[in-house]
């Protein structure tokens, strides 16, 4: 199980940047397709919000993956004194 935890840690580390890249590609595609004027402004705003929110979350996923890769989750603390 610990080997799986470590291996998946690598997956989470890669998944963070992949999600951000995917969101940027989607944003570029959808903003490009939107009509000029209010529709374009709204689409840009909506995608900016989505990307702004998910960048720190994906960074958190990368850190989570790093901790998993380093074996931080092999034994979870059983009392507050272990934290």
């Amino acid at each position: 199980m610990n080997a799986l935890k470590k291996f998946l840690g690598l997956v989470w580390m890669l998944l963070g940047p992949v999600i951000i890249l995917f969101l940027f590609m989607q944003a570029s595609d959808k903003i490009g397709l939107a009509a000029e004027g209010i529709d374009r402004t709204n689409t840009t705003l909506q995608w900016s919000i989505i990307i702004l929110i998910f960048i720190p979350i994906c960074a958190g996923l990368v850190i989570f993956g790093y901790y998993a890769w380093k074996g931080e989750y092999e034994h979870l603390p059983e009392s507050s004194s272990a934290l």
Partner: protein, 511 residues
């Protein structure tokens, strides 16, 4: 039954009642906005904004969710510094005040874009307040709960989010039925917001009489209150890694299951399946009514078998079942297909004339009510736009379906499927307060558990209606495309939770 503190004079029942009532009212305040998104969109944005008014209103609705983690940080820190009781009293005042003020904001036709901007600001205050409320209430109850019954007692707090939604839908439907559709769309929608001030007043009165959490009081007496809970929660690796685990392995998946079952389902039935306003809300009301007791069932069960697998089973069932369920919703409301073989009656057409949104062209709207052999009814609305100066020659025409009502058997089946989705909500949400409380030490509990909870629910969950509606509006997408967002997030959370989380119940939260 008395709480663990020997000096406490209040019973655990009083603790739960006082905490739950306030939290329920905060959820009510928070959800009336979402339940009225279509009407509010028409009030806040130009009348010709069309679908973008709904998407922008959903964006304002989502903004309230997005700031919840910041509220968790601000009020969580306060709660760990000055105590649970006074912090969640403050959040209650902020929430009630901002909800009341939303009910007073003039429409776009009176003050232009100041209307959506003011509502956005008040919505942000609502989000901040809610971010501080839940962690406080859950911590407060958990720190009073006897050993071995923490899941059971905190599950009462977990019912409040669903009951708050129930209350908001109930008051909206009641107000609309009393005033009629036109008056409700014009000014009646403000009443559910204004009512909030009375509910909050009652809750503040009750909460003022409550004592501080015994665990926090003991900590304070011993001088062990954290000097900087934010720093301890997030700069200390041992704590921060648990915050990340709680977010990615539990609250992220729980958030999307919650908001798919209790928000997206109703929004989908109303906007995609074109169900009648009241019918879509009654369906959710019945489903919530039948499913709510299961919060306590699963919370209590988690005391015996552990929290982990109950929550993860709820996520997995969502991943597997969402697409078939929503496909059924589409098939069961496909009145265009049904009318080819089972049209029983067509009413006399009702024609109305008016001006188009550009104020120069004319609009002719013809409505007929069609009844099918099964008992289903729907309105077919044909709209013709006649360009100014070209009387007699229609330049554009469109036919739309609206106000679909279901046959009895389909109605029961749809309620059963929404009930099943809310049942999944009770599985993921019933045990989660106890799970989060047990994950963190007392000194930084309010701060540490609030952040993953509100990112999971506020950001991942709260964005379900917005992102799913956005994805479904892409060219080439189907009405079911929006479901990939909750399915993907729940699947990811299930894998992380299954691999990394312990199923252990921590009996000692006094440390």
């Amino acid at each position: 039954m008395r709480s663990e503190n020997p000096n406490a004079t209040q019973s655990i029942t009083q603790v739960i009642a006082a905490s739950s009532l306030g939290t329920l009212i905060e959820w009510y305040d928070f959800y009336i906005f979402g339940s009225l998104a279509v009407i509010i969109g028409q009030q806040l944005f130009p009348s010709d904004a069309g679908a973008s008014a709904l998407i922008n209103t959903l964006a304002i609705f989502a903004a309230g969710f997005i700031v919840r983690p910041f509220g968790a940080l601000v009020f969580g820190r306060l709660g760990d510094l000055i105590g649970r009781k006074y912090t969640f009293l403050l959040t209650l005042v902020l929430m009630g005040g901002s909800t009341f003020l939303i009910g007073l904001i003039p429409s776009y036709s009176s003050i232009g874009y100041a209307a959506p901007i003011l509502v956005l600001i008040l919505r942000l205050v609502q989000g901040l307040a809610l971010g501080g409320e839940y962690g406080g209430a859950a911590t407060y109850v958990a720190e009073h709960a006897p050993v071995g019954k923490r899941g059971f007692f905190t599950s009462w707090i977990q019912t409040t989010a669903t009951l708050g939604l129930f209350l908001s839908l109930g008051i909206i439907v009641l107000t609309k039925n009393m005033l009629g559709s036109e008056a409700f769309a014009d000014w009646g929608w403000r009443i559910p917001f204004l009512v909030s001030i009375l509910l909050v007043g009652v809750s503040i009165y009750i909460r003022m009489k409550m004592h501080e959490s015994p665990v926090f009081t003991k900590l304070k007496a011993e001088g062990k209150v954290s000097a900087n809970p934010l720093k301890e929660s997030f700069q200390k690796k041992a704590n921060f890694k648990m915050v990340l685990l709680a977010l990615f392995g539990a609250t992220m998946g729980q958030g999307v299951i919650w908001y798919t079952g209790q928000f997206y389902a109703q929004s989908f039935l109303e906007n995609t399946c074109k169900l009648d306003f009241n019918e879509s809300r009654y369906i959710l009301l019945w489903a919530i009514l039948f499913a709510t007791p299961f919060f306590v069932v699963f919370g209590s069960w988690s005391d015996k078998v552990g929290r982990k697998w109950i929550m993860l089973t709820g996520m997995l069932l969502g991943v597997i079942c969402y697409r078939p369920i929503y496909q059924y919703f589409i098939d069961a409301t496909n009145v265009r297909e049904f009318e080819k073989t089972s049209l029983a009656n067509v009413s006399e057409p009702v024609t109305e004339r008016g001006l188009a949104t550009n104020k120069t062209d004319s609009l002719i709207t013809t409505t007929v009510v069609k009844t099918l052999a099964s008992g289903m009814t729907f309105k077919e609305v044909k709209t013709e736009t006649i360009a100014a100066g070209q009387i007699g020659s229609s330049s554009e025409s469109a036919v739309a379906i609206k106000d679909v009502t279901l046959s009895s058997s389909t109605y029961i089946m749809v309620i059963a499927l929404v009930f099943f989705q809310v049942l999944l909500v009770t599985m993921v949400y019933g045990p989660i307060a106890a799970f989060l409380v047990e994950l963190f030490p007392t000194q930084i509990r309010y701060t540490s558990m609030s952040l993953p909870y509100h990112i999971g629910n506020g950001v991942f969950g709260g964005l379900v209606p917005f992102i799913a509606t956005l994805v479904a509006s892409f060219s080439g997408s189907t009405p079911l495309s929006g479901l990939w967002y909750p399915i993907g997030i729940a699947a990811l959370s299930f894998v992380i939770g299954a691999v990394y989380i312990n199923n252990r119940v921590d009996n000692n939260v006094m440390d």
